[in-house]
Symmetry: C3
Subunit: 239 residues, 3 copies
């Protein structure tokens, strides 16, 4: 029978660290997850991105069920796994396949509920893509021509244009993954893209709090100043 | 029957890399662990913090037994797991629960040997906390109000004041975890706190050597200059 | 029966993310791996280094078989595991022991096909070692004398001189591991050493593309500018 609770709420915790179960219940389940700054659906996206990025498979079944119950669609989960294969590494996606398969099985999600291999892609923002490509060419063109080519052909002309995960949500996955892996050098570009795609300042700030719990405080504190610089550069007022 | 040796000492290594078993025996077990700069109890704290932070569960049973045999108390191990839930991420703590439960079971450690959920907290150093809170408010207050609030309420007004792990040991866990995850941006604050709490310069330097073996050389070399800057800023003479 | 395909090619993927199987086949197996800038043997070295460094054991059996089929010798695989015990951490090596043992067993690789514990070491480049040791002594000598001593005694006077993995390949393992763990601070020294040992500029650039797929795009993009600086400092022309 599938567990319907995360490990830190299970009875096992009482044999190791009873205080941790209380923290998990009070601060995480009844605290963090109920804050209005991010919807449960958004928190599910962030949490799945963090766990897949960190290869922490133990509680992914619980959070997948929570995600489905919070309105995340199977096509969206499928796209999140596909997206993170590139942003977190092929091995991280591989580790989640059997787990997602089982949860999809429980819920009766069938192959024709999944995104097609070759969907009609979203329209390309040609100007933004030209700027991005020129930047990457300048920075990496003579260093790793292969990286430059795959980045365009596989990522920005294909993966990012797949229609079954909204660009704002795709960016949310990316930013969460970057924070969870300590990849602060890439946060600036992708948070700007996320905010261009509709992520609000309040939501972006709350992503950091969600990441703090699921990836640990240090990643959150490393991300915060970079996020602050993005806010400043976009000319938004402090809340 | 529980294994009483780490994997790299097991017979399996002879089928893959016999030299590695020799290195493990000569340089780690008979070398590193016998150096006087850190006690076996301290090395156990560092090693458990590194393995939990890196989600490397395979040899945690061996090092838990070694920790208990080296004088680390069950209440202290319980607090280490609880502490790392926040500093290394909830998922890392979750991965260790079943393992610690089994080792506690072997040793007859019962729930009433564990720290209470709500102990009488250590006294707060109000001045230091005011400085810390003001710093965080200035750096992250308008970026992630949630992060700021949880950092105070859950971490510095609660977790850090739990009495069953001495502040010096709690800092040792934190610094080891930061080094093992490459979180060098947070080492300065926490190493200063550790040294305020009694960690000596010689011990801090030797933590780096312990981290080198258990997290890999690159993390040790990334940490060393940051540790050096802390030593310098505290006005201590080179040994 | 051992699987002869990576997880992302398996039928399971069709129940989760059919597009991901298409990407894996078209862009990775039929794309990346067939590019001439790195041989299949080199790509196997890079991939194994990435997976061991990231503790992603699931597909290591597949890539070990591919490595053996691509000409990597059992002695070389044994040395790679031993090397990464120090550069990625003892726990990462420990996690691979049982897996390598099984694959070696399948292939009839016996203990006397493995490198000896104490081989005749390669000759030491005394001048380069003196420079390295002086640098480390200056930077870490008063901070962590233990780290300095182990770095010389275990790594540069022993591990790096073991003869069953060519210095160029040992450097390739090291650079791949550093990129996969985001240890950009150490890339400069080790990439220079790799190129001194014969790694070409074109190969180094292609390592980044291989790392992009197996460790994720962010690690590749963090590594690229550091690699570019090394190329520039060596006075080579852009291709």
């Amino acid at each position: 029978m599938p567990s319907d609770e995360p490990t830190l709420i299970s009875d096992d915790v009482l044999s190791v660290a009873p205080a941790l179960r209380a923290y998990m219940q009070d601060n995480v389940i009844d605290g963090l997850w109920r804050r209005p700054q991010l919807s449960p659906r958004d928190r599910s996206i962030v949490t799945l991105a963090v766990l897949i990025t960190r290869n922490q498979t133990l509680d992914i079944p619980f959070y997948l069920r929570l995600a489905l119950d919070s309105g995340l669609k199977p096509v969206e989960i499928s796209e999140i796994v596909t997206h993170l294969a590139f942003y977190a590494g092929l091995g991280n996606a591989a580790s989640t396949i059997a787990i997602v398969k089982d949860v999809f099985g429980e819920r009766g999600i069938a192959p024709n509920d999944l995104p097609p291999v070759d969907p009609k892609l979203l329209p390309l923002d040609a100007a933004a893509e030209a700027t991005r490509a020129a930047n990457v060419e300048e920075n990496a063109g003579t260093i790793s021509p292969g990286l430059v080519q795959f980045t365009a052909d596989v990522l920005f002309l294909k993966l990012w244009l797949r229609p079954d995960l909204a660009p704002r949500d795709r960016s949310l996955v990316t930013v969460s993954s970057l924070m969870a892996a300590g990849h602060i050098a890439q946060i600036t570009f992708h948070l700007n893209k996320a905010m261009d795609n509709g992520l609000t300042k309040e939501q972006a700030g709350e992503v950091i709090a969600q990441v703090a719990f699921y990836a640990g405080w240090p990643d959150a504190f490393s991300a915060a100043p970079v996020v602050g610089e993005v806010f400043k550069s976009r000319g938004q007022q402090s809340a």
